[in-house]
Subunit: 143 residues, 2 copies
Amino acid sequence: MSGLTIGDLAKRTGLAVSAIRFYETHGIVHPVRNAGGHRRYGAHDLRRLSFAMIAQKLGISLTDIANQMIHLPIHKAPSKSDWSRISTEMRTDLDARIAQLELLRDRLDGCIGCGCLSLDSCALYNPDDIRANEGTGPRALLP
Amino acid sequence: MSGLTIGDLAKRTGLAVSAIRFYETHGIVHPVRNAGGHRRYGAHDLRRLSFAMIAQKLGISLTDIANQMIHLPIHKAPSKSDWSRISTEMRTDLDARIAQLELLRDRLDGCIGCGCLSLDSCALYNPDDIRANEGTGPRALLP
DNA sequence: CCTTGATCTAAAGTTGACTTTAGAAATTAC
DNA sequence: GTAATTTCTAAAGTCAACTTTAGATCAAGG
């Protein structure tokens, strides 16, 4: 009668059904159950998923997103001010990531013809100020 | 007598001993063994490690780095022309990554005051042309 | 010679974000 | 009413890049 099935939600968001269930374990969505034990979702869940998906595009980890949502009523979507707060934080981080990549690019330009490949003298290899693509997993973006 | 121990190499590169052993399984280094079965490395191994570490800073995966090294003699370090070829490819990719992040930033600017969070209308959520931070693991950078 | 300390191997664990699998029960379509 | 979908759960698997663990052996300093 009321509510979207998990399949409906998957079609609307483009997420896999399994991903939506996984998000539930992280507290992103909070479906109710129908008589047969199947999940039913409301519009707030759709918005919460949208919020999570967009925040992920910005590089925020699921854990951080979930932490933001902890402060929200379970059956409410994030508000405009929630979004403002987070997106403003993101703006700063995004600038930093861009600056790092540009630094890397500039150094690479000076290095393409060099080929010294020495850890001592190569400007490219500077552990202190190059943070981009450090390796496995996404970095924490919200403190 | 001859050759560096794995500990020496670790100190010179800043890598963990376990990481160097791991790299060996990927064919990055090829130590010989001494009488007691311990690994002994040459200068070429140090350079191969440097090459790998610098390439990683550029966002190239270990697998891709190993694939590049397959074409090299085992006991030879990558040459200037090897580095040129790879670094030139990287330059292109780096530009693309920067452009994507800048696009994201511009859209975020237009979105900070908005808060619509709609998958249909939010410019931020455009699966087709935003590739940055797609999620788990590093992207393939060399084809 | 003896005691630290370094190295050895193989296997399992870590993290993030999910997917896959298997077998059972509910729902929908005809 | 029955067949075809969907959904259910819990547990295990995946990928990348390593690290940790355990128990054994090797090397080096005094």
